[in-house]
């Protein structure tokens, strides 16, 4: 039962690169938090600082109130799963798992019991005598996970653990890891650059950019209510339209919606699924460029009058043909100015209702 607190942590590398910039985060007991961001956003550096492999330039980290900022990795109650699995190839599966227990002077019988229990947990019961090089990529990653779990760490750290696996395996392991994490109620910090992974696994997502936090929220909120255009663009597909607001109306090349903010330039964000299209001949705001049928739904690429490209999700793609004029009716929009959210609105009743349960 453990809590991780990170307070104002910065990391400046010798070359002067500021990898992490006054970063703060509190991870609650049993919570799984995803650090999400493009490469170079500092998420891995942050995780490695929690693991003890990098020393923060400034700031403080505590686990259950104990300051761990300058504790070496071997004395930290953290367990890390590496991207390349980093299994010790000169030891078999059992020895890989037993090594940490042996260092802790656990009795051999107890080591055997615990290793076998954890192997069972990750679905590799009876694999103890295998050489790690004989295992498949997915199995190796499971052993790496088991190696961390067998020591019952207070905080589990996962550094893009599925990056080297194929799509199918990744999805399966994602579910397995989430199941195990829920069963053990282990506090977990997870680094990924894949939004699917973050959305499907995390209790909370930390979106990072240039070593700073862009947004910390539950996955559904990050998705529906991105706080900055960066988050909006990074998570899911988002139409970002640069335009101007005058007299409470946002307009861009013939397309306009009421937005109750002060006059000036603004960026409007609309999810493809929140953009309703109707065929229009006289007052067309855009033109259909291409229609893609995905079976369950369709995606319409369209051009505004000044050739700005946006996408809309439609349930009946057959209704639209390239070249047709369409009118746009957004159901939910957000507006940003200077990278800050200034308005969110035009919500339909059902989304509004959901928003209330989220806040409760």
């Amino acid at each position: 039962m453990s809590v991780l607190n990170i307070k104002d942590v910065s990391k400046i590398f010798p070359g002067g690169t500021r990898a992490v910039d006054t970063f703060s985060l509190d991870v609650a007991d049993g919570e799984l938090v995803c650090l999400l961001g493009p490469s170079g956003s500092g998420k891995s550096t942050l995780l490695r600082m929690v693991g003890g492999f990098e020393t923060p330039t400034s700031g403080q980290m505590t686990i259950d109130g104990d300051d761990i900022t300058h504790v070496p990795p071997e004395r930290r109650p953290t367990g890390m799963v590496f991207q390349s699995h980093a299994l010790w190839t000169h030891m078999n599966v059992f020895k890989n798992l037993a090594f940490g227990l042996k260092l802790r002077k656990v009795a051999p019988a107890e080591i055997k019991r615990r290793v076998e229990a954890v192997l069972e947990l990750v679905g590799l019961g009876g694999y103890g005598t295998r050489a790690v090089t004989q295992l498949s990529g997915g199995q190796q990653q499971r052993v790496a996970l088991a190696r961390s779990l067998v020591l019952e760490p207070k905080i589990l750290l996962l550094d893009e653990p599925f990056a080297s696996l194929d799509q199918h395996l990744r999805e399966r392991l994602r579910e397995e890891v989430r199941d195990i994490q829920q069963r053990l109620k282990i506090t977990t910090l997870f680094v990924t650059h894949g939004q699917d992974e973050a959305l499907s696994m995390a209790d909370r997502i930390v979106v990072m950019r240039d070593g700073k936090t862009e947004q910390i929220d539950r996955p559904d909120i990050v998705y529906r209510e991105p706080r900055t255009p960066f988050v909006a663009g990074f998570i899911g597909t988002m139409n970002l339209i640069e335009g101007t607001v005058a007299n409470g109306v946002f307009s861009k090349a013939g397309y306009s919606t009421p937005v109750p903010v002060a006059d000036g330039p603004a960026t409007q964000a609309i999810r493809p699924e929140a953009l309703e299209l109707t065929l229009a001949t006289d007052n067309a705001q855009g033109k259909v460029h291409r229609v893609t049928d995905f079976g369950t739904h369709g995606l319409v690429d369209l051009e505004l009058l000044d050739s700005t490209r946006i996408k809309a999700m439609v349930s009946h793609p057959g209704l639209f043909q390239p070249g047709q004029g369409v009118a746009l009716a957004p159901k939910a929009i957000a507006a940003y100015r200077d990278d800050i959210l200034i308005h969110r609105g035009a919500l339909t009743p059902e989304i509004a209702a959901r928003r209330e349960t989220i806040d409760a």
Binding site: G51, F53, M80, S84, F99, G100, L103, R104, A144
Partner: protein, 272 residues
């Protein structure tokens, strides 16, 4: 199936194989035969009498035993000293940052920019002033210099090939840096380092030129004794038996070092 995809006979390969066997294996076979020959008079194609008589005679010679023990002592001393001073240095080059790291790393090439025996004579000039000529430690020093390059370069490559994450994972499960080195880094780099140590042992055991220039006649190693046998010994079998004796460590080395040599890393170490 095999009749359908039957390969063309590799005549080039067979030619190379036959010629190389004749040129490389045959001379050694002849020496091996001489070692087990009691009587072989011209012009018989094969020995008149096989036997181990000359093994007994050779091994009864005091100079043979003293040179065997001298060669072994020398090789063990040099290998141990070389490992003790080179392996920590190799680790430092592979894993630490310090001023002048690159230039110091390449300084070990210095000896290879000059013809070897010329360099030995230059060193002998220094040893002359230090009264090291004709002494055991003089020979040890000269051999030690010869092992430096590959006892540093091969282990550096071995240490660098160890995945940094493996070491971090060991720190993560509670191993101290010292323990990580013993339990993870060393076993991972182990086979390559063992090959380097073996090469150093065998190289020292066979080294003739330095031992002859610096050591002879006071420090008489097996190869030095062998030279005097070739020059002055009318009984051919003594040399033959000694060759077989000398060659035993070589053969073991061949078996162990084959992996390292065939991987090509060795050739690259020589600039290929």
């Amino acid at each position: 199936m095999s009749t359908l995809v039957r390969r063309r006979t590799d005549w080039t390969g067979i030619t190379f194989a036959v010629v190389l066997t004749l040129v490389i294996v045959l001379p050694l076979l002849v020496v091996g035969t001489w070692a087990f020959t009691n009587v072989w008079r011209y012009p018989s194609l094969i020995p008149q009498e096989f036997g181990l008589r000359f093994w007994n005679q050779t091994l009864a010679r005091a100079d043979v035993w003293s040179s065997i023990s001298m060669s072994l002592t020398l090789a063990v001393t040099v290998t141990v000293l070389s490992a003790v001073i080179c392996l920590p240095a190799a680790y430092a080059f592979a894993r630490m940052e310090f001023p002048g790291r690159s230039i110091l790393f390449f300084s070990f090439l210095a000896g290879h920019a000059f013809p070897k025996f010329g360099l030995l004579v230059a060193i002998a000039g220094i040893f002359l002033q230090l009264n090291l000529i004709g002494t055991f430690w003089g020979v040890v020093l000269i051999q030690l210099v010869g092992t430096l390059l590959f006892m540093i370069w091969i282990p550096v490559a071995a240490f660098q090939a160890v995945d940094r994450r493996m070491e971090e994972a060991a720190r993560d499960v509670g191993a101290t840096p010292m323990r990580v080195f013993w339990s993870i880094t060393l076993p991972q780099a182990g086979p390559t380092i063992a090959a380097a140590i073996l090469l150093s042992f065998v190289g020292t055991f066979y080294e003739t030129e330095g031992a002859w220039l610096i050591g002879a006649p006071q420090v008489r190693t097996l190869p030095v004794l062998m030279i005097s046998f070739i020059n002055n010994q009318p009984v051919i079998q003594y040399g033959a038996v000694l060759s077989v004796l000398l060659w035993v460590p070589s053969f073991i080395a061949l078996m162990f070092a084959r992996k390292v040599v065939n991987s090509g890393s060795f050739a690259r170490g020589f600039g290929g």
